[in-house]
Each structure stands twice: as C-alpha cells, then as structure tokens.
C-alpha cells in the first residue's frame, strides 16, 4: 500500500515536553545546532523574542538595524561558516524587508532559514494590521516556504526547513508562524528530518556519465575548466585540485567560485565573464572541451549564447538537474555532488599536462597585464585606483583575509585582484547583484569565521544603502574592516553611461556626507586617504587596530573596469579598453 508520510523520521520513542509554540521555535533552532541568529522584533513575533530572552545563554540574537541587514548577515554567516544562516522578523513590513536578502540567497544558493511572525490565524486574509502574504510574496524566491498555524506543526516544519535549506543545492527557506501558534501549548519533541518523500536532494550519478566524461577529458587537447560555487558548497576543494593537477587542465572561475582554488595556483587562469580575464574568455571559444564544475552558465559568464564555446564539447558536473542544458547544452552531464563525482572520476583520468595550451593562457595574460592590470595595480597617474587599494590589502593580509564585496566597479576590482589562499574567502552578491549587501554580510562573515580577518570593500553608493548597520557593528563589537572606495559616482552605472549612453551621466553623481564623521558617530575609528603615499600605512593601521575600522579611500572619479564583454557580445569579443 502507498504510504502518506511526507517526512521520514527515525522510528524512536521521543520524549515530549509541554511548551508554547514560541518556545518550540527556540528549541528547534537549538536542536539544529543554531547558536546565532539575526533579526528585528515586532508585534507578530514577540512571543518568540520573549522566549529568546530566556535562552540568551544558548542562542545569541543579533539585532540588525534593518531586516534586510538580518538576511545579508545570515548570508555572510552561511558563506564563511558553511552552516545555515538564520534571520527572523515580524509580519508585514518586517517580512517584506527580508525579501531582497532571500532573493539574493536563492540565486546564489545560500542555505538560510527565515522565520517570520504572522497575524493570528483567525485574522488571516482580513487585511489585519501588519498582515502581508509573505508566503505568496516569497514563493518565487525561496527553495521552500510554509505557513504554520498550529503549534504542533512547528517541530516537523523546522526539521524539514533545515534539511531543505542545506541539502542538495542549498537555498533559502521561509517559515511563517501565526501569533496564535506561537502562544499555543503542545507536547514538544524533535526529530531531525532525514528525507522527504518527493525530494531527491542529490540526484544519482550514472556510472556511464563518469566514463564518458573521463573519455572526453583524456582525449582533449585543449580542455578548459570553469568552476563555480558548487566546489565550495560541496566542500570539494581537495578533489577539485587533485583533478586539475592530475589532468593538467587550466581552471577559470566564476565570481562565486572564487577562492575555491588558491589565487597563486599555477593552473588558476583567472575569472570568466563580463569583467573576467582576457585569457579564459578568449580561449573559451578555442578550447576543444569545456568542463563546467558546479556552475550554471549565468549570462554574465557566457555573454551571447549563440557564440559561446560552440566548437567545444561540454561536460557539466552539476547537482541541480534543472541547470543541465538550461543555457548551454552539454555532451555529458555528470549529476551529483561534485565532492563525490570528482573523487570518482579521478582514477579514470590520465595524467597529463597541456603545456602548449597553458602557454596560450600565459601569453594572453601578459597582454592583459600590459594593457590593463599594470595600470590598475601600479598606476602612474595622480589619482588613486581601486586596484592599488586591493594590492595594498593583499600585501598586508597575504591573501588570508575574507573579502566581502558589494556591487559595482569596486566589486569587480575586488574579485579580479583580491588574492586568496583559502576557500570560503570571497563573499559577494553574484546572481542578484544587490547593492547594500556587503556591510551586513561582513558582519555575518566575521561571526561565521571569528578567527579570520574580514574586510568589506564597498562603493560609496552601496554603502549608503545599508549604512545603518554600523550600529550593529558598534553594538556587538564586530571586528570588521570597512573600506569604502569613494568615487562620488554610482561608478558602474556611470561606466555604462560613458560607454553606451554617450556620457549622459543621468543621476549617477553623488554628493556624499562626511563618512568619517558618520563612522566616528558610531564609535568606529576612521581614516580618509586621498594620496597614494598614505595608503600603505592606512591599510596597516586598519589591520592592526583591534576591532572595527573604517577606511575611506578617495579614488579616481571616472575610472573604468576592463576587460569588459559588452552585453550581448561574444566572450571572445572581450575588450581591453
């Protein structure tokens, strides 16, 4: 007979305890190993906050200054710790303020559980005070969501939520809990979720696909790997490195794959995509085999699909079946977690080096160095460049820091030039491109990896979108280093206006406040650098100061980020100027 059980739990005798739904929420979080959450209180979630007060010693709640900040902090936490980030808010405006962070987490596959309060169930649908259909609103941007109206459902829903958020291709989950369900008493017991009948978190790997992929790899003369965040999410860094080293394959990264392979690795050939490196973009259209590892062929990576790697056979290592053949048709799709599939394919791969092919990358890198990189890192003109700030940071941190970047020119510069020695070091908003991400995400990143230096690199525009989180930093003594690259412009948009809208700088010039005074207002030590001679010393001071630090670097107003693939152009049409 068919069974109806949706959630499969271990058959054990469970001890029960009588408690309210609100207390159950806390107990579920503790049972899932959560010790830190971000959020903002309000009427519809007050019972849970009241319980938090009781559990203060086991569960730390960080009060952000805006609910968007709570989601981005939870994301930053998830990205550096590898754990599920948790954010909580009240109903209505609290819940809608979470949406940007949820959408960001969805497109960047970040495991996150969001908890929202909801009006009492008898008021649902009545346009009650602070009622909003957050389940409906968040449906297209969550991996799963659910509304709880009965306290007794809380344990099973939470267990499912955490399982879904972190399994397979991770993503954000939202649980909406009515106020009456928070007050209601029931007999609590908790069993972690081990599986859901209709959900296959990781698709099975066909042995034949591994053989076919190995044959293609062994036969290739000019193979190129493009790796994405799947390597980091699957914790497959070792397996990945072993594969590229054995087969001698140049490996290029997407913005979210960054840091999975150390910057200095001889087979690391740089970033692909719109502001990626010259060599991997150009040679994408020359390789005979393109091996995509845990990446999804985002349009910022591929440019015009009609001219993308048409000459190449394609192997796609992927955990999400919906990504296979979505944008680029693959000849072989190897399904599964790359940690397992890469380990399994390794013995089938012949040892190889592709010296002549690698040399092609090096030759193009030299061209890019002469035309772009040298001027960016060692500028001779008077104005400070964003690149030299990154160079200064690299020299000081030796590539060991976590770099959190916002969105815009500084982000592309940070991703292009930051040096990384360890994985999980690059935290940025890739798929959604959310300005305002970096400051709160840096808070979460630091709390997720307290032993590491965390440096946020932010534009003057994005900084002002979530600048209030300086309050969170100050209140919690969070030792993040904040670097604002101030060009008094919404730089990336201005760059497009210059290149594609005949320099009509519509609404991109910004008159900024005195950032130093603002930082000091939040009791954060601060310094402004306007001259090259001051830069090195200022970065040193920032890194050696205990606690948070704010550094504003006034950079050249109208610098552009190159290389660049204009929208709709082919990757091999990458422009150097």
């Amino acid at each position: 007979m068919e069974t109806a059980t949706q959630t499969v739990t271990k058959e054990t005798t469970m001890k029960t305890e009588r408690m309210t739904g609100a207390e159950a929420v806390i107990r579920c979080l503790l049972a899932e190993g959560v010790d830190l959450i971000y959020g903002y209180p309000g009427g519809a979630i007050m019972p849970v906050y009241d319980e938090l007060f009781k559990y203060e010693d086991q569960l730390t709640h960080i009060l952000t200054r805006h609910e968007q900040g709570a989601t981005h902090a939870a994301q930053g936490y998830a990205r550096t710790s590898g754990k599920v980030g948790v954010a909580m808010a009240t109903s209505g405006p609290g819940a809608t303020n979470l949406v940007t962070g949820i959408a960001d987490a969805q497109i960047d596959s970040t495991p996150m559980v969001c908890i929202t309060g909801q009006v009492a169930s008898h008021l649902l649908g009545s346009d009650a005070f602070q009622e909003t259909d957050i389940v409906g609103i968040s449906t297209p941007v969550t991996k799963w969501n659910h509304q709880v109206t009965k306290a007794a459902d809380i344990p099973e829903v939470f267990a499912k939520a955490f399982y879904i958020a972190r399994s397979g291709r991770p993503g954000p989950v939202l649980i909406d809990i009515t106020k009456d369900a928070q007050f209601e008493e029931f007999d609590f017991s908790y069993e972690p979720c081990k599986g859901i009948r209709s959900y296959k978190a990781t698709p099975p790997t066909e042995p034949k696909s591994l053989e076919d992929a190995a044959d293609l790899i062994n036969a290739a003369k000019k193979p190129l790997i493009v790796f994405g965040q799947g390597v980091i999410l699957g914790e497959a860094e070792e397996e990945f490195t072993a594969l590229i080293e054995k087969a001698g394959i140049p490996a290029a990264w997407t913005i979210l794959g960054l840091s999975a392979l150390p910057t200095s690795h001889p087979l690391n050939v740089g970033m692909v995509g719109m502001h990626g490196n010259y060599a991997p973009n150009k040679l994408t259209n020359e390789c005979d085999l393109l091996i995509a590892v845990g990446m999804r062929f985002d349009d910022r990576v591929t440019g015009n699909l009609d001219t993308y790697a048409k000459q190449a056979k394609v192997i796609h290592f992927e955990i999400d079946p919906a990504e296979v053949d979505k944008n680029v048709m693959s000849d072989v799709a190897v399904m599964g977690n790359v940690k397992h599939t890469l380990a399994k394919i390794l013995p089938l791969i012949n040892k190889n080096d592709h010296q002549a092919w690698l040399q092609q990358f090096n030759d193009l890198m030299e061209i890019e160095y002469d035309k772009v990189i040298k001027n960016e890192l060692y500028p001779e003109k008077e104005g400070l460049s964003m690149g030299e700030v990154l160079r200064g940071i690299n020299e000081e941190t030796k590539g060991d820091a976590v770099i959190v970047s916002d969105v815009g020119q500084h982000q592309m510069i940070a991703c292009r030039y930051a040096a990384f020695s360890k994985s999980k070091s690059n935290v940025t908003s890739g798929g959604l491109g959310t300005m305002g991400f970096a400051l709160p995400a840096a808070i979460g990143a630091k709390m997720g990896a307290p032993e590491r230096d965390v440096i946020a690199i932010i534009g003057d525009g994005g900084y002002q979108m979530t600048i209030q989180e300086l309050g969170t930093i100050f209140q919690n003594n969070t030792a993040v280093k904040i670097v604002v690259l101030n060009n008094e412009f919404l730089g990336m948009v201005r760059q497009w206006q210059q290149l594609f809208f005949e320099k009509r700088y519509a609404s991109t010039e910004m008159t900024n406040p005195d950032f130093i005074t603002i930082a000091r207002g939040y009791h954060i030590p601060a310094k402004r650098v306007t001259k090259r001679e001051e830069l090195k010393e200022a970065i040193k001071e920032m890194m050696t100061t205990e606690g948070a630090y704010f550094l504003e670097v006034c950079v050249e107003k109208e610098n552009n980020v190159f290389p660049m693939i204009p929208t709709g152009a082919s990757v091999s049409d990458v422009r150097l100027s």
Binding site: M1, E2, A4, Q6, V8, V135, G136, T139, P140, K143, W144, N145, H146, Q147, Y163, I164, R166, S167, K194, G195, I196, R197, S198, Y199, K200, A201, T202, D320, P321, A322, V324, D325, K326
Partner: protein
C-alpha cells in the same frame, strides 16, 4: 522550434502552497496556460495537476525540470496530444422555451452526443464531453439561439503509456545529510 500543444502531468504531495509555486514557473516565463486542472490521482494522498500549454519542446523540457525541482513534486511528465487520451467537459445553460419551440435545437443536441443534465421550467442544462473542437462546434451551433450560461473545464488526460508513479516513489531513497 515549432510550438505544439503539450499536456503536462504533475504528481505531487498535497500542499496548499504548491499551486502557487507551479503557476509561478509559467508566469515567470510569460507562458499562458491553456488549462489547469487539479485533482486526486490513482494513488492515495498523491495529487495531480494537468496543465496544457502551447510551447516548444525545449521550453516544455525546461519547465518540467523546474517543476520537478519543487520540493513536493514527485514527478512531472509531458506528452503530445497523440500520446494521451484527453477530454474536456462543457455545460450549456439554455432557456427551456427553446427546447420546446425550436425544433432545430433538438436535432443539434441529438447530433452532438450531448446529454441533458437537468430540465426546469426556466432552463435546461446540456453537458458535452469531448475534444475542444467538438465542444466549440456545439457552442457555435447553440450560440445563435442564445446561451444563458456557458462554462468549459480544463483538459483532463490520461496517457497511453504507463506512468509508474508508485515505482518512482520507491526510488526516492532517503539520504542523510552530513
């Protein structure tokens, strides 16, 4: 690629939010639904959506993977018209006067294989089950006499091939997350 009619069958767990999620997949891609029917299925506690769309095969293939990605979806299939047995049902509410005064209308009813569901002094209701064109043909014939109400259901369909949902359900092994 040519657009074609596809019947999509989605077997799911019962969850109120799922309808929203599935329709959002189409909405996001600006694909109009020709019809959408939800019902129970042959398996206890497994529900079934039957959706008809006119898209290219590439589109329908991608939609299926997006649908299957939803947590509560067990399996989704797509079929061309000739791979399914499908029907729609329509109800016509017509003034009873016509039934007695218009001789022609009785012939129309007879020829169309429609059933009279109910007759009252004011109106009678005609039920017609068949392919879309058959329902439309009847509509065209009756419309000139005046229709008090007309409603047509979405397509329901069964496939010629077996769907093996019970077997598929067995393959959903439970995995431990580390």
């Amino acid at each position: 690629m040519e657009k074609e009619n596809y019947t999509i069958s989605v077997y799911t767990e019962n969850n109120i939010g799922l309808l929203n999620r599935i329709s959002a997949i189409f909405l996001k891609r600006r694909i109009n639904l020709d019809s959408f029917t939800a019902s129970v299925s042959e398996i206890k506690d497994v529900f079934r959506f039957t959706i008809v769309v006119s898209v290219t095969e590439e589109q329908v293939r991608k939609i299926i993977t997006q649908i299957e990605k939803q947590i509560e979806v067990i399996k989704a299939f797509y079929h061309r018209d000739d791979e399914t047995i499908y029907q729609e049902t329509a109800l016509f509410k017509i003034s009873s006067k016509l039934l007695f005064e218009e001789r022609q209308i009785q012939n129309v009813i007879k020829e169309s294989n429609a059933q009279i569901v109910t007759v009252t002094p004011e109106f009678f209701v005609l039920e017609k089950t068949g392919r879309r064109y058959e329902v439309e043909a009847l509509y065209d014939k009756l419309e000139p006499y005046g229709l008090m109400q007309f409603v047509r259901s979405g397509r329901i369909a069964v496939t010629k091939e077996k769907m093996h949902i019970s077997k598929i359900l067995e393959t959903f092994t439970i995995e431990e997350v580390n």
